[in-house]
């Protein structure tokens, strides 16, 4: 048994790329991050609910595509209606594009009409690296049991053009509707697209 555990540990270490990235089909890494009011929000608080996690940088043209058109807000509202928790996370480092203080983030939410359950600040990039968030947007879904069931792009049209939203398959909304129907998520991973997450250099 001990030998087996050693083997497992060794494999677990190999399996962890740079930061112990989230793996679809495995428990979603737990995290805590401050919301725009400085209050700590923990993923564990939402056990029993489906959770969408969205990586955000308001200045990224690919993010603007989805907020300027109202596409992201619409998805957030649809999710909220179904009791789905939506966590938007900003992993931009201080001084980098998209970084915001809590006050700035509050103003941004009001101005854009975004309606996530919480907007979380991750200036150290700890949560972003735990999830291996590569782009903004980069989308994840955690099911009610706490398992990561989707990781990837918001949709299948990897351009910054708002005109491409129409006719695109929104992988997140498709997954949520499959989950709601009690089905397995048919597209569990896709290639994320957008701007690189502006992590700190150090």
């Amino acid at each position: 048994m001990k030998q087996m555990l050693v083997a497992f540990t060794a494999l677990a270490v190999i399996a962890a790329p740079a930061y112990g990235a989230a793996v679809v089909g495995k428990p979603a890494p737990l995290f805590k991050a401050a919301d725009v009011n400085g209050k700590a929000v923990s993923l564990a608080d939402f056990r029993g609910k489906t959770v969408v996690i969205e990586w955000n940088n308001p200045e990224c043209p690919f993010v603007k595509k989805h907020y300027g058109s109202g596409n992201m807000q619409k998805a957030q509202a649809a999710a909220a209606k179904d009791g789905v928790v939506w966590l938007t996370i900003n992993s931009g480092a201080p001084g980098k594009q998209g970084y915001m203080s809590g006050t700035e983030a509050k103003a941004h939410l009001a101005q854009s009409g975004a309606r996530p359950t919480h907007y979380l600040l991750d200036p150290g990039g700890v949560v972003g690296k735990a999830y291996d968030a590569k782009t903004t947007p980069h989308m994840y879904i955690v099911n009610k049991a706490g398992t990561l069931v989707y990781a990837g792009g918001i949709d299948d049209k990897p351009t910054p053009r708002p005109a491409d939203i129409n006719g695109a398959r929104n992988h997140v909304l498709a997954a949520l509707s499959e989950i709601k129907a009690g089905n397995a998520v048919s597209v569990a991973t896709s290639r994320p697209y957008g701007c690189s997450v502006k992590y700190s250099d150090s």
């Binding site: 087996m4 083997a7 497992f8 494999l11 677990a12 190999i14 399996a15 962890a16 790329p17 990235a21 793996v23 679809v24 089909g25 990837g152 792009g153 299948d156 990897p158 006719g167 398959r169 992988h171 498709a174 509707s177 499959e178 129907a181 089905n183 397995a184 998520v185 048919s186 597209v187 569990a188 991973t189 896709s190 290639r191 697209y193």
Partner: protein
Amino acid sequence: MKKVLVGLAALAAIGAVGGFYTMNYFEDPDIQLVDLVVGRPAPAFTLPDANGKPVHLADFKGKTVVLEWNNPGCPFVKKQYDSGAMQKAQAAAAGQGVVWLTVNSSAPGKQGDMDAEEAREFLADKGARPAAYLLDPQGQVGRTYGARTTPHMFVINRAGSLVYAGAIDDTEGSDKQGVPVRNHVLAALSELKAGQPVSVATSRPFGCSVKYDA
């Protein structure tokens, strides 16, 4: 235990290569199948076509290849052929110079098993236009590719790497009223044609189980 370790090793492989996705298969304890990793070379094979002529995957190096697992008796396959969706996809692929190989891995006496003549009749009857219809009654190629369902679709790029494995489209368990159907194979082909990476490299295959020999 061995199976668990294999699974973990597969996960380790994903972690190591990043960006490569394994297929998210459901369990089928009766059949030993190898889970291929998308992003890796597609295994070579040779199978007889509906005219008895051997077809080698290796002959198509330099071309994009689609593999379609087929069982004409399966309702999920019938839906694709009776609506004309599969023939349309085959025609679109052919128009782009893509080689489409339909493979039948039904064992003798099982649903969908056909000899060469029956296969030719099926093609004529449905107006199906794969580049070749391949007979795999022993299920060797099906097992090598981990083909679980009919249909189960694979796309191999010009370099011979597997770049898609999964369902034909995203209509599993839904009527999709008013929502456009995404044909994952056609979407992958159009991304490949544009020189882009395949954005949905795996999806959950759905359909009838492949009728392998027990």
